[in-house]
């Protein structure tokens, strides 16, 4: 990366560059104090904007593959298109906004920050979530929030089967229909605090809480410790 490119409009055309070159250039731009960069022609490439530890805003103009923004801390990514598996995987802090659909395992094991998907997400969204916030404006597939440990997962649309199976903690909100709850997930009453939190989380994305009839799902804590009498609970749990 030359200095002239930092001074010129921050645009990076992925055409002809390897993923490694793209990420190296992003890291150099971040280190040089750039605040925004436009990534052109991503062409569904995997591992874009991985492990960036800076408040760099990366606007990706097109579809991306697996692990977009994975292992990052503090980055602000916008994807103008759909994304592949595990967007925002192990995100520590920052924000990833996907303006299309996301494939499986969105925000897998994220520890912090916010992943917001304005389309729908595939199966296992929010799997192993350890903190932060995952927002999906559309629907999510089966086994979402599987083994979720902490954080907030807001689904404005419908949730597939086995939502929240074997979750330890954290809160899930669903605005649409739930195909089925997984083992140890249970409905809980919505409170004013929940509505305030939803409002606070959704309004930045132009989403209005009152457009949805949110339900709240939390851990029933029945799988925390084994009980010999609960035969089916342990046999049928994941």
């Amino acid at each position: 990366m030359t200095e002239s490119l930092i001074l010129s409009p921050p645009t990076l055309d992925c055409t002809g560059l390897t993923t490694r070159e793209i990420n190296q250039q992003l890291k150099k731009l971040a280190a040089a104090g750039a605040d925004t960069v436009d990534l052109l022609n991503p062409q569904g490439r995997h591992n874009l904007a991985v492990a960036i530890e800076a408040p760099l805003k990366v606007r990706i103009r097109g579809p991306v593959g697996y692990y977009c923004g994975g292992l990052s801390e503090g980055v602000d990514i916008e994807v103008d298109g759909p994304c592949g598996w595990s967007v925002g995987e192990n995100l520590m802090a920052g924000r990833i906004l996907v303006k299309g659909n996301a494939s499986a395992c969105a925000a897998a094991s994220a520890h912090g920050g916010t992943v917001c998907i304005l389309g729908s997400a595939g199966p296992r969204a929010g799997i192993s979530l350890k903190g932060g916030t995952l927002i999906v404006q559309g629907n999510v597939g089966h086994s979402s929030a599987f083994m979720m440990q902490a954080g907030t997962f807001i689904i404005c649309g419908d949730a597939g089967h086995s939502l929240g199976d074997s979750l330890y903690d954290g809160t899930i909100y669903v605005g649409g229909e739930i195909a089925s709850l997984g083992a140890d997930a249970q409905l809980a009453p919505m409170t004013d605090e929940d509505n305030a939190l939803l409002e606070q989380q959704l309004s930045p994305y132009g989403l209005a809480t009152q457009d949805y009839a949110f339900k709240k799902i939390v851990c029933a804590k029945q799988l925390y410790h084994f009980k010999a009498q609960d035969f089916s609970k342990f046999k049928d749990a994941y």
Partner: protein
Amino acid sequence: MDDPILHTSSTFNPQVIAAIQERAELGRYMIRGFGAFRNVPRLDDLVFLTASMTRLPLEGYREKCDTRTVLGTRFAKRPMELEIPITVAGMSFGALSKNAKVALGQAATWLGTSTTTGDGGMLPAERDASAKLVYQCLPSRYGFNPKDLKKADAIEIVIGQGAKPGGGGLLMGQKVNAVVAGMRTLPEGVDQRSPSRHPDWIGPDDLRIKIEELREATDWEIPIYIKMGATRVKDDVKLAVKAGADVIVLDGMEGGTAATQSIFQEHSGIPTLPALVQAVEALKEIGVYGEVQLVISGGIRSGPDVAKALALGADAVSIGTSALIAMGCNKPVYIEDYQALGTEPYHCHHCHTGRCPVGITTQDEDLMARLPIEEASTHVANYLQSMVMEAQSLARSCGKSSVHNLEREDLVALTLEASAMAKLPLAGTDFILGQS
């Protein structure tokens, strides 16, 4: 009156009877630590054909026998350069006490080798104590942090382990204290059931992309190991190589664990001996033997085990249980505390309870105080040193100026099982079971 002659059923022996009655009380599978109890064909069943007339030995105490070992030469800019071919395997802070973790790091550092984090993240004190630290990326991702990743000297993606291939671990609530719960983002005191599958990828084609992600995150500097429990070794090794591993770490069924279902330990996976042989064959079949290094683990206890593993084609071995034993696991001290657990020294496998009498597999401050770091480090370092010297002695007696020059031709088998599994001739014959 004479004692009556007792008749014992082989099918329903006392241990089987006790196990049935224990499950009748519990209503679940049994959980314990340590690893497989059953006897399996092992490296002990091989012997060296040391030098005589056809070969010249090297002088045992004078002539050089190199032990330097390099892992991760395939893609990484900074391969793992070790002084000895023995590494310390991944064991979690949580399963192990802080003192135990720090002592393992300290001992490994003294010997110029690496130690490994575990399920539960990187302990700062462990990083400080370990000159070379392998950072595990496990299915649970407990405490997985890109900042720690960037401090690592290698990454080990854990697909499984020999004690429970295909199964997840368990950390019983009594060990999930505030510190452990905080590091793992879990409710304090919960029975933690570790997942057996990674959350963000499924299958080797995805893993290839995952590996690229980890390399991007670490600027392609450090090696990436893939650790697997030994089951369908040949195919698994080939797929791991295809996925982009620099190093294969293969854990046989003798490998240990702090807690999992005893059925996994006794009834799944294959022993270390045949696993090693199959892994070497797999690497050779796809033409990457030497390019992708092989670390073998699971029941490695002695210099002869190390030397035999290297002769069969491993680049290094990794130890877990034996390092803990060197530290004092199952030592005949605090005997009343062993008895309170319903066991005795030499028989204890109660790691899962968190009441380790010698302070190794516990989070209890009082018990942990029984394991002073300096003493524990010294014992592990002495033990590592003794194993290296033993392996060198055997290598010199075979005429080898490097432990890595030991070869299959230096070994024969003592049993038919070992002959078949190692594909080596039965001692004193030209007969290889299954080949001849």
